[in-house]
Amino acid sequence: MLPAEMPGISGEDVHVGVKKTYAEINEKIKSGKVVVVTAEEIIGMVEEKGVETVAREVDVVTTGTFGPMCSSGAFFNFGHSKPRIKMHRVWMNGIPAYTGIAAVDAYLGVNELPDHDPLNSNHPGEFRYGGGHVIEDLLAGKAIKFEATGYGTDCYPRRKIDTYLTLDDINEAFLFNPRNAYQNYNIAANVSDKTIYTYLGTLKPRMGNAHYCSAGQLSPLLNDPYYKTIGIGTRIFLGGGIGYVSWNGTQHSPCGARGENGVPLGGSGTMAVVGDLKQMKPEWLRGTSFRGYGATMTVGIGIPIPILNEEMVRYVSVKDEDIFAPVVDYSYDYPNCTGKTLASVSYAQLKSGVIEVNGKEVPTAPLSSYVKAKEIAETLKQWISKGDFLLGEPVQTLPSADSGITGKSLIEKSAP
């Protein structure tokens, strides 16, 4: 871990570092004096003016990412019918939602599929419609078919209800995504002799292509690698509206290998995020289908990073050529959890369109939209500049590289 910056205490030529607080930056936002730039724009500024000047000039740096994020979904409260029903099963446009919570509450996961989906019976399956598509349809203002069944109780006698709902008809609807915005991610390739269909897209045989899924230098957690400003309560751009970081994400694994700049060399950190679905937009929460794999949702997330000191400037000025990710074979090594990687390449190489793996030139393609990531960072910049969006100071930052957290594998055991 990089040493924390120590401000000078005495002496004439001792360097006194730049220090800003969340409250000071929020005052600047309210008075319209705040200076906000994107994580792409700051790179050139730092090269030109140096870290210290930029730390004085810039208050907030905005990031963005727009990629498929499988661990996502929404909680709903549908309101009570007359007579009441305790919803034991719920379907929204034919997609089952989880009802193991109170009577008229449910959670719709974006990977969920219709009961009679052909799945992969005719491999590779299409997975044209799933939970993520329902969320997109609701946001687009469409009426969805709502069905629920109950087993009947003295207090909830009704056994069945069929109706149509729009997002306005639903009481609470909030997105709650248990794992989003992976800090970094594998690059998928396929060394086998046949095409494979994965959550990282269609991979051609004999390393005919390699797919990556990160906005690189614009991606939120790559710009604050030790989560110094990101934690519970951080206010973010989520699905076109405002959301919050609510916890670390599942599989948050901050203690793996990092480069000298602190940037993780593989997966690493994740976030759980929450926000009111009703103010989100269908263009930023998109139902998504991966052939042969399943349905999911593409989620837009942007995080503002406060420039509290010079250390933060160094983090947010990270460039694609300084961020590395592992190339992993998805025909054997990934499914069998061998832990083997084929190579480590930078996002600058990935974005050039060709990487070299074991002497072979492999064409690359992204699954995460850099164009949209930029649009998110720009939107967030405008919100903050116009005074519409204040920074949320985290009440607790995400567990970092000193937390000792490591992921566990699932071990098969006999009964204890």
């Binding site: 727009f66 044209r128 897209g201 005919g208 292509n209 139902g287 052939r291 699954l367 164009v371 949209k372």
Partner: protein, 142 residues
């Protein structure tokens, strides 16, 4: 007559015959091969643009059919619905003809209709179904 895109399917065994040569020489047709997947011992396929005068054109196709070739006219094209496209890039590494590609450094995904050989792979690969078949021929160059 303006060129038409056709798909030829060759059963195994006839790939070695100089069929295309006869189309050009005997029927005076112009051939522009867009994509070929031929292997002497297996069945093969070829997408081409074919043009020529009308009796010759039909006679040429009849000649191919007599040789056992299955001829399909590709009247459908592919269009990209630009409102749906997220510029993710997932289609660019599977498009065999380079019709879908990334423009750098903007990282925008471009669709060049002219290069499309209508193989249809992208229809199934685009995660948000932004690529769509168009019955009247593609004009979705955006």
């Amino acid at each position: 007559m303006s060129p038409k895109k056709i798909l030829l399917k060759f059963p195994s065994g006839i790939v070695e015959k100089p069929l295309i040569y006869h189309l050009v020489k005997d029927y005076d047709l112009m051939v522009n091969i867009l994509k070929a997947n031929v292997n002497p011992s297996k069945e093969g396929s070829m997408v081409m643009e074919l043009s020529g005068d009308s009796p010759n054109y039909d006679q040429g196709l009849d000649f191919l059919r007599r040789q056992g070739v299955i001829v399909d006219r590709l009247s459908e094209g592919i269009v990209r619905n630009i409102d749906k496209c997220t510029h993710c890039g997932a289609c660019t590494s599977i498009c065999p003809s380079g019709a879908l590609y990334i423009s750098r450094p903007s990282m925008e995904v471009i669709f060049e209709d002219d290069k499309c050989v209508i193989c249809g792979v992208c229809l199934k690969t685009c995660p948000v179904k932004a690529l769509e078949p168009s019955v009247n021929g593609g004009n979705g160059k955006q």
